[in-house]
């Protein structure tokens, strides 16, 4: 039994129906925009952690390079994943938390850069 959040395979007759257009738009936004902020957030949090053990220019460069690979993986997953709920949790909420966390953590911890 398919769950209600399952992305049904659109058949030709309703390919451009409002329902399937909305599903596709959701998926695109979550994948492209959500995926970007999630990848950036994950990479930023890791860069923050790494900058405690290596020079910040090195940590930032390393994670910025890896961020593209993370983004690629998220993009592919976003189009393969069938349950829209999962997409919202990971790329929507997860991304917001990761990115928001990375932005606010330095201010919260207040530790000045050595």
């Amino acid at each position: 039994m398919k769950s209600p959040t399952h992305f049904a395979k659109p058949n030709n007759s309703n390919r451009f129906s409002p329902a399937s257009s909305w599903r596709i738009t959701q998926r695109l936004l979550l994948a492209i925009v959500g995926g970007y902020f999630t990848a950036a957030g994950i990479a930023a949090l890791m860069a923050l952690a790494l900058s405690r053990v290596m020079p910040p220019s090195e940590a930032g460069t390393l994670m910025a390079m890896l961020a593209f690979v993370i983004y690629l993986a998220l993009l592919l997953w976003a189009f393969a994943e069938r349950r829209s709920a999962r997409l919202w949790w990971v790329l929507g909420l997860g991304g917001a938390l990761a990115f928001g966390g990375a932005e606010m953590l330095p201010a919260l911890t207040g530790a000045p850069r050595g």
């Binding site: 020079p55 220019s57 390393l62 189009f79």
Partner: protein, 517 residues
């Protein structure tokens, strides 16, 4: 979107390809041309067709700079190399615009204003920024194209069922859907490492633009130090007072920098605040001898000549410079340069054949069901594939036809050449949508004609026809360009003839009707 992983990837590959293929082709095409951007410069700027030289003399260069831009905040001297026989000075002119002039290296003589942006200032920047400056929009679109390329490559491999069995398969004698898919798979799979590395390395060059938050995080929110620590961008303030004496000898600074680099030469010497007491000189490492696009630099006090600061990359940044260098291909290695060019063209063929496959497999169904998809995408394909080629050729032809000092509604020759590019490109789209079915063929004929015209115009306006340019080493860039133009014309001609033959075969009744009229 698909029930299985493979089906989802199929959906993704098709939609990403159709929607973004036009953008991708523009980036791939200008990227491929940029491999030879400096050779295109020689072709479009005949006064720079000089013999390469290693010797240059600083005093006359500095005098020329002082005359040209006495109040500029900096003078960037790009030193000559095998591919660039002149010194190119970049500076901000009195209007505040960032501009350049070419200088003869030994005498310091200023060459006449090029009157063109040519390969290095139009085609190459188009490749990474689409010349869309507003809020870095162009950079973001190219970034999207880069990510899309990675997604398309991976999804393409996933959906290719018989990737090893089909490894060497190309059947041009079969029907168009089969032969175009064969060629699409061939160019995609055989050059897969190249396409993947080029896309990823291109993105990695711009980490500071695409993932600023990541870099900020490493710096607890303050990014400014990154540029100095990673990329060696060292800046000091002016004193506001004029210099009491002239600059220390630049030859000594260059020699000292070279000594620190185990004898490697510099590629760039930048004089900051030339007239100020706090003038300083940046000497940057050559990028010709290694794969890495190094940003190693030594900074000297302008008046005393002492070393102020030396930058060399840490291990991770060195990796980023190596990856950037893979993409920039500024190193001296002719076999590799030609290989990159051929593989770049294969990428263009990959995109074009992808479109052709999509069109041919849906043509009948869309016609039968009255769907507009094929009509729209066919116009898009023709305009973005043969159209941009025609626009590029128009750019070259305009360069040869328009005199140096042309001016029209306030636009100088360089700007008019760019207008020619964009206007002709627009026309090719209009033509493609107005004449479906015939547009491909007609545009192929146009490519053949314009390419030959460009070669003829070069011979007529500069006298460096093929016989002459092949005979003199310093004219080989011109010969190379002319030969590639002729080769391109031949390919376009063959395609046009083949399309005509196919059209006659497919529509014999129409042709019979025409014959009867």
């Amino acid at each position: 979107m698909g029930d299985t992983f493979r089906e989802s990837m199929g959906w993704l590959h098709t939609w990403a390809g159709v929607v973004l293929g036009a953008l991708l082709f523009a980036v791939f095409w200008t990227g491929t041309l940029s491999v030879f951007d400096k050779e295109i410069d020689r072709w479009m700027m005949p006064e720079t067709r000089l013999a390469a030289t290693d010797r240059l003399s600083w005093p006359p260069l500095l005098d020329t700079a002082r005359e040209l831009a006495p109040d500029a905040p900096f003078w960037s001297f790009f030193l000559p190399s095998e591919r660039v026989p002149v010194v190119r000075i970049f500076y901000r002119n009195s209007a505040g615009d960032f501009t350049f002039r070419d200088i003869e290296p030994r005498t310091g003589a200023l060459l006449p204003d090029a009157g063109t942006l040519a390969g290095t200032r139009f085609i190459f920047p188009f490749h990474y920024s689409l010349h869309l400056r507003w809020n870095d929009l162009g950079y973001w679109l190219v970034g999207l194209a880069g990510m899309a390329t990675l997604v398309l490559l991976v999804s393409g491999v996933v959906i290719h069922r018989k990737i090893f069995m089909d490894f060497f398969t190309f059947r041009p004698d079969r029907k168009l859907p089969r032969s175009s898919l064969d060629l699409h798979n061939l160019t995609g799979v055989l050059a897969l490492p190249f396409h993947f590395v080029m896309a990823l390395s291109g993105l990695i060059i711009f980490i500071a633009i695409y993932f600023p938050a990541v870099i900020s995080s490493a710096y607890d929110g303050d990014r400014a130090a990154f540029y100095k620590e990673a990329f060696g961008i060292y800046r000091t303030n002016t004193s506001g007072e004029p210099a009491s004496q002239s600059l220390a000898p630049l030859d000594d600074m260059v020699a000292e920098a070279s000594r620190r680099w185990n004898g490697e030469p510099p590629q760039l010497v930048r004089v900051w605040h030339p007239n100020d007491a706090e003038a300083y000189v940046e000497v940057r490492h050559s990028v010709k001898k290694s794969v890495s696009y190094k940003l190693d630099a030594v900074y000297f006090d302008g008046i005393m000549g002492a070393v102020l600061h030396e930058h060399s990359s840490g291990p991770v940044v060195s990796v980023q410079r190596f990856i950037a260098g893979l993409h920039f291909i500024q190193f001296e290695h002719w076999p590799l340069r030609w290989i990159y060019f051929v593989l770049g063209l294969s990428g263009c063929v990959m995109i074009a054949t992808g479109y052709i496959y999509w069109l041919e497999t849906r043509r009948k169904r869309h016609a039968a069901q009255g769907l507009p998809g094929v009509r729209i995408v066919e116009g898009l394909t023709v305009g973005s594939v043969s159209g941009i080629v025609i626009a590029t050729l128009a750019f070259f032809v305009a360069n040869r036809l328009l005199p140096f000092d042309t001016s029209f509604v306030g636009q100088d020759r360089a700007a008019l050449e760019v207008w020619a590019f964009y206007l002709v490109w627009l026309v090719t789209f209009a033509h493609a949508w107005a004449r479906p079915g015939r547009a491909w063929r007609e545009q192929c004929w146009t490519i053949a004609g314009l390419a030959v015209l460009a070669v003829v115009l070069n011979a007529a306006t500069t006298g460096d026809h093929l016989v002459r340019s092949l005979a003199h080493r310093h004219l080989w860039p011109v010969a190379g360009m002319d030969l590639l133009l002729l080769a391109g014309a031949a390919v376009a001609l063959l395609i046009a003839l083949r399309l005509a033959r196919r059209c006659r075969a497919v529509h014999p009744s129409q042709n019979a009707l025409k014959a009867a009229e």
